[in-house]
């Protein structure tokens, strides 16, 4: 008898707790992003959003790139994934295949959300067969980052970047400038007949690694300038990696170190990364994305941003866009949707733009970002002009099996960079393995 009454008391207590919890209005939305540089701006967005929506609390969580994706994957499985998270084009097709993203198209239609306020093409990247898996937040392009003092020392006017060229035969003026900026331990530069490529004191260029399957900050600008494309558009089921134009460009990229000595070796770049080497001060140029502007400006010397070289078919940069997606496991779909809508609005993107850290997806907000840098005396037009140039960008390739493709290509590309294999020997096999995935 005693025991039963205890049980009753327990059940009543439990019911009271449950009802009191559900009676509370406050809903908490967990939001995740990977870039610590963007955390302050998004925290500010969250504060504005919470002030306007007193019933919703948004907690912004930031994790480093690798942990971020491992955490998202394990979160899907354990049921602990964030309600809303920053999504990447290389990752989201897998999440769609695993049925983990909310199709927000019905909500977009219901609320009449405009999807044409962004840079052209950005919103469409997140659609498949009528479904929509995210609203655009920002974009990035690639440019050349250079060490101002080293250009001055070599007597090169950085304005050369406005019209420099690249081709497969001799690397164009891009390669010439690179050579001129490379100095061996005897003080000869890369154009001199006495130049010793095996003993370098200052490198002209540091490649951001070999680029794996996408070469976003590496060779993709060059392959595109030859008219090569990854595939026949979003959701294609075959890749064009066996094209001779691709194979030769990749070999040219590796030969910058292996043959010419204008770039540090793959061993030297792979562990700490190109940006660390560049910031050590004895490399004249590198190529990277606009999200790295802040990092490069943190160097102990003056850096400038120059245009990409222009190839036979023109000057192109990969155009990558991030978006905010909602996880299917969220308990608060409506609140998550309000937050996503706010993140994609001019109000929040203006806050992000004013921080100058990235270029928001809405052109007005992106202009604010450029203005903020200009006010600080930094010219980031190399990135913006590329995005604004008619047809100056091509989209990040979207297809299924991104993880598999990455694993296969990275292995082949590493071997080429190390000089243990030639591109024409390993790329066709890798290309065949990739096309067999589909």
């Amino acid at each position: 008898m005693k025991r039963r009454s205890l049980l009753v008391v327990l059940v009543v207590a439990l019911l009271l707790i449950v009802t009191s919890v559900s009676a509370q209005e406050a809903v908490t939305i967990r939001y995740q992003l990977w870039d610590s540089n963007q955390l302050p701006a998004y925290q500010q967005c969250a504060d504005v959003f919470m002030a306007a929506n007193p019933g919703i609390t948004v907690t912004v969580e930031q994790l480093g790139w690798d942990d971020y994706w491992t955490g998202i994957t394990t979160g899907f499985i354990s049921g602990e994934a964030p309600d809303v998270f920053t999504n990447h084009l290389a990752k989201y097709p897998e999440f769609v295949a695993l049925e983990q993203l909310v199709d927000i198209q019905p909500l977009v239609e219901r609320d009449g959300v405009a999807t044409d306020i962004y840079y052209p093409g950005l919103a469409d990247l997140w659609t498949r067969e009528g479904a929509r898996y995210g609203l655009p937040k920002d974009w990035d392009t690639i440019a050349v980052i250079y060490n101002v003092a080293l250009f001055e020392a070599a007597g090169i006017d950085p304005a050369v970047m406005d019209e420099w060229t690249w081709n497969l035969e001799d690397g164009g003026t891009f390669q010439q400038v690179m050579a001129q900026l490379t100095i061996d331990t005897n003080g000869n530069n890369g154009l001199s007949p006495d130049f010793d490529p095996t003993s370098i004191a200052q490198y002209g260029f540091v490649p951001d690694g070999m680029g794996g399957a996408y070469g976003q900050t590496q060779w993709s600008a060059l392959t595109a300038s030859l008219g090569w494309t990854f595939n026949e558009g979003p959701w294609a089921t075959s890749y064009n990696y066996d094209d001779p134009r691709f194979i030769q460009t990749v070999q040219w990229w590796a030969d910058l170190n292996l043959v010419h000595g204008f770039a540090p070796s793959f061993e030297e770049v792979s562990s700490l990364g190109a940006s660390t080497l560049f910031q050590a001060g004895n490399v004249a140029m590198t190529m990277n994305g606009s999200w790295m502007i802040g990092t490069f400006l943190g160097s102990e010397f003056d850096v400038g941003f120059g245009r990409l070289p222009s190839g036979p078919e023109g000057r192109f940069s990969m155009f990558n866009g991030l978006a905010d997606s909602i996880w299917v496991g969220t308990q608060h779909l409506e609140e998550s949707w309000s937050w996503v809508k706010f993140l994609a609005s001019l109000e929040c993107q203006s806050i992000v733009g004013a921080s100058g850290v990235v270029f928001p997806a809405i052109p007005e907000a992106a202009a604010m970002s450029q203005q903020m840098r200009a006010d600080a005396g930094v010219d980031v037009s190399a990135f913006v002009e590329q995005a604004n140039q008619e047809g100056g960008t091509f989209l990040f390739p979207i297809a299924d099996y991104a993880g598999e493709i990455s694993t296969i290509m990275t292995e082949a590309m590493d071997a080429i960079a190390l000089g243990t294999a030639r591109a024409e020997d390993v790329i066709p096999d890798a290309a065949a393995e990739i096309n067999d995935l589909f």
């Binding site: 025991r3 070796s265 061993e267 562990s271 700490l272 990275t410 590493d414 190390l418 243990t420 393995e433």
Partner: protein, 353 residues
């Protein structure tokens, strides 16, 4: 149910001797002592282990519905195909069946053969892991043995023992991060030192020939102190009187080491070998932090391969668990062979006492 057990207990005679009877029953007492760790073992090792055997027969990504596929996952990682070559010039892809990629090509005169695998990366990962164990264990154990003997003979202080064990106390990830900086080809202090003494720059983690050895080196540094402490404890159990008696019989230091120290250290050495070889086969964290399996797949060990199947690919739980089961069987075999060969369950000291 509750009522019956209560009443039955009240009917039984008052038992002041219940606990003492319990205490006298060796078997029950033994089980009681290991119960806490047994619960943990069953919950966190036993159940998941058995579950992964089931998953290894499925095509499952943990999120959508699982599909029973029989032995297909095992086939995917294990199946080989042997193909003779008609001529030395023949392309491997011409003789390999569909879905198979070249694992090994052997050319003998005008002919030869090609061995293909459905996923050559699995066998390469196995090979890489075995190479790693061979680079890691012998040197680590020899160094540890040397250090332990030095500590016993020359410099036995608690401070020194504390210092020896220090690397082992550091989290693996931090150790790996530390060595990324120390070993960096351009900015690392070790390479700057090597260049100054005229040995020239080394690639270490960035070079496919040195990456695996570098990882082994890092782990030797990390584990040798700990292993030395284990062996040192073993040395302490050897009665001094044996050495004195042998000295009277005219044995020198080397003979003493070979005939007394090593045989009597055997149970400890077997323990050290068994645990460190298992740990070595399971190398993952240093790889994940320092090289991510690269460059060019040269440090893709078996656990990293399993990790890739889940986190870098489309959550291939089936393949990942099948590979885990294969690794488990390999480890069981290796361990049983070691215990059998070295008779690790017996101690020569038992006969002495």
């Amino acid at each position: 149910m509750t009522a019956t057990s209560l009443s039955s207990r009240s009917e039984s005679p008052p038992s002041p001797g219940f606990f003492s009877r319990l205490g006298n029953n060796q078997a029950v007492l033994g089980i009681l002592f290991i119960l806490p760790s047994l619960i943990g073992f069953i919950l966190f090792f036993g159940v998941p282990a058995i579950r992964s055997v089931f998953i290894s027969f499925q095509d499952w990504n943990l999120l959508t519905d699982a599909e029973y596929v029989g032995l297909a996952n095992y086939q995917n990682i294990l199946e080989l195909s042997f193909n003779p070559l008609a001529s030395a010039e023949q392309n491997s892809n011409d003789v390999l069946p569909d879905d198979f990629d070249e694992l090994l090509r052997v050319q003998i005169g005008d002919g030869g053969f090609v061995i293909g695998a459905r996923d050559p990366r699995f066998y390469r990962a196995l090979g890489t892991t075995v190479s790693y164990v061979l680079l890691n264990i012998p040197l680590q154990t020899l160094l540890a043995l040397g250090i332990a003997i030095l500590m016993e003979k020359a410099a036995n202080s608690p401070l020194l023992r504390g210092v020896m064990i220090l690397p082992w106390l550091m989290p693996n990830v931090i150790v790996a991060m530390l060595f990324i900086w120390l070993l960096d080809p351009t900015l690392g202090v070790i390479n700057i030192f090597l260049q100054q003494i005229g040995i020239g720059q080394q690639g270490f983690f960035g070079s496919p020939d040195q990456a695996l050895a570098s990882i082994a080196g890092v782990n030797i540094w990390r584990h040798m102190g700990y292993t030395a402490i284990l062996i040192f404890a073993g040395l302490k159990t050897i009665p001094k009187s044996l050495y004195e008696a042998s000295r009277v019989d005219g044995a020198n230091g080397l003979v003493q080491f070979l005939r007394i120290t090593l045989p009597l250290l055997r149970p400890v050495l077997v323990f050290v070998f068994v645990t460190s070889i298992i740990g070595s086969f399971q190398i993952f964290d240093t790889v994940a932090v320092a090289t991510e399996g690269g460059p060019a797949g040269s440090t893709r060990t078996i656990i990293y391969y399993i990790y890739e199947q889940v986190f870098e690919r489309r959550i291939n739980m089936g393949v990942a668990t099948a590979a885990s089961v294969v690794l488990f069987l390999i480890l069981v075999t290796v361990t049983l062979i070691q215990i059998r060969t070295f008779q690790g369950n017996q101690s020569d000291l038992a006969e002495y006492s």
